[in-house]
Amino acid sequence: MEQLNHFFQSLKSKQTPVFVISFLLLCLFLIFQLYYTTNEPSLPPAIAKTIKRILTVRAAGIDYSKYTKPPFNLPSPNGDSDTKYDSETISRANTLGGYVQKHLPYLQGKFSSHPEYIDPFSAVIWDVAIEGTGADPYNWNCQDIQGSSNNVNNGCPNGYSSGGWQVNGIQVSQAASHLAADFQEVYGKTDGATVKSVGDKIIGGSSSPKITNPSSFPSTDLQTIISTNTVESRQLMAILLMDPELGAVAISQEVAGDISGTGNWVSAMSGWGSYYSGNMQTFSNRAKYLADNYNGTVTGGSGATTGGGSYSLDLILKPLSKDSYVLNMATAQAIGGGSGGSGQGAPPGSANGQCTPTGAPPTDPGAELLSKYKITTQGFSSEGVINVYDLFTCLSSSRVPSLLGKTDIVIHNDVRPNNAGIGMSCDAGCGIWIPEGTNAFKFILTHELGHVLYYTNSPEVMHYADAENAWSSEGGLSPYSGPYYAGQGNCPTQGAVEDYAEMVAYYLNPTLGGKTGACDSRDNPKNSLFEDTHFPLHLNAAKQVL
């Protein structure tokens, strides 16, 4: 004891309070550990087990505010949920999240750069609040047969790659690339016997309808099933995805994959169509309700659970057709300049509505475009060529001409190949596809021109970092170019690359307010750069470039 006193005394004399505190904390910790380990065995096993169980039961409710922030970005809840989920749905939601939690190391390992994209409750939000599957693992739909089917026994002979075939909120085709690894993670092997055992359990647990296609699961190893890639083998994959644990692992990855596109979940979803972009507030209100009742506790073991069950949701399932945004982006409007903005600070002679080139057009405007800007028009009427020529004439006193000429540009009077809508691409040269007569032709053409400039000039010349940081700080210049838009609720679809093109379009059309993309529901949008005070960093970046 005397030695101990001396030890503490010496510590005191050295005046090292941090070490003393650390030392005491360490002592407390070790003594607690010592007490625990020496006393626990003395508890009767039944009591010890009960205590353990009590400790592992989690109280319902989680902090939902996390999901209103990056990378999820759902709007803050505003009002009650329009759907009150029943206890069965809540239980399945908890099981779904619980299984994601169980496999967190595996899942986060797959997203090691952004482990935060893997989140148990986000899988619940997706399945229950957004897709409306009720987290029912047997929820199945194929929108490609008979005008849509919800009967698994019909199979989905044509829908594999269309995005219209889902099991409990996940596309079968999307899950194919990681299904074997997921199965290995959940069941430890992928051999025929194990796969059959899991598949038969799912079939046996089905009820409404009872799965009869197939009536029993074949004893085939999973790699073979996946690589066979026939209608029958795909049906087997769909059935395996009905396994609650396997399905949870797959769903979580898909949500994370969707987030990883832009680092913004809402941004990604809003590009998939109006069901998503138009219902974010509703989704968030539902998700809040779920969050208040969520505890992430798995009910039942792995394998199929109770079957179809009943739940009262009135959501309409929509396929995840992520390609649809390409077509959506073909829509755009230029609306006449809000409240008569002055275009203050606009580039001289810019392509605003007031720019009317003086004098008669040249005899061959196409040749002028080619010689001055290395631009060729293809398929336009003579009037269309003059329109394009007028646009570039208006831009002649900006920096645009000096930014052109790095590559040949062909402007096509057409949409992109494969009916991919208005847009641009570059290879040996660059192409812009925009049909003559498109609403807001000049605005959209300058938007696509913005993409071309971005790809054909160095980041230094294009002040890419300034523009990107403006996007990060101020949000998108329009709802189209998120991550959020200051003027209204979330309706973002794209990212900094689209925002760059929007910046070019707004700057070169200073008296026009532009609407890009179907998700933009503004009635009379202002010019974000010149008639809106939210975007000083954007305006500064645009001035540097253009």
């Binding site: 070790l30 190391p105 390992g109 750069s113 790095k406 160095s458 980041p459 940081n469 990060s472």
Partner: protein
């Protein structure tokens, strides 16, 4: 009871030993400056190892720079412990929404993402041709970047332990990834979160 007392005394001895070690460690740290020098190993002929600088602004040498060294690198902004025990350090970069990163595993840096300065005058600014001159052609080039755009490309030298994302039309490199040499598929699976193989062939 006597056993308990003995255990208590043993624990106390253990505590004291740990405490002394802590004091010694802190003493050593106190003698160092805040800045731990970054190793500058010799570039190997043929450039086939990550024990070298792939880019002048590279912060670490993979499997050489320790966690302690990573922690003292300038610009450290955040530290995230992953569920698998690996630690992700994020550092200030030229872009607000895309940070420099160093992943530490078993006390060693195993992955680094470093954004290349935009200015061509900065010594860290390199072009695709600079890499091709030194290291030859990449094993694979993949079009489609989630962050930089559908037409940007990832140039993968997985067997040499690095990859970079660049603009094929201007030659500018946006960011460089340095990692333990591996296969192309493994790189894509492990660190290729930005690779967007399904990107449309253009922008809308």
């Amino acid at each position: 009871m006597p056993n308990k007392r003995l255990l208590f005394l043993l624990a106390l001895v253990l505590i004291i030993v740990i405490f002394i070690i802590l004091v010694l460690i802190s003493g050593v740290r106190g003698n160092n400056s805040d800045q731990v020098p970054i190793p500058t190993p010799t570039i190997l002929p043929g450039g086939t190892s990550t024990q070298q600088k792939i880019n002048p602004v590279q912060k670490t040498v993979i499997e050489n720079t320790t966690q302690r060294e990573v922690q003292t690198l300038p610009g450290l902004e955040n530290k995230i412990t992953l569920s698998n025990g690996e630690i992700m350090y994020t550092f200030k970069s030229p872009l607000i929404s895309r940070k420099n990163e160093v992943l530490v595993k078993d006390n060693m840096a195993v992955f680094e993402r470093v954004l290349v300065p935009e200015s061509s005058k900065n010594p860290g600014h390199l072009l695709i041709s600079d890499y091709e001159k030194t290291y030859g052609q990449p094993q694979q080039i993949i079009r489609g970047s989630h962050f930089y755009g559908n037409l940007m490309r990832t140039y993968i030298y997985a067997d040499k332990g690095f990859a970079f994302i660049a603009n094929p039309f201007t030659g500018d490199v946006f960011e460089v990834h340095i990692f333990v040499p591996t296969s192309v598929d493994s790189y894509i699976q492990t660190y290729g979160e930005d690779v967007n193989k399904n990107a449309p062939d253009g922008e809308s």
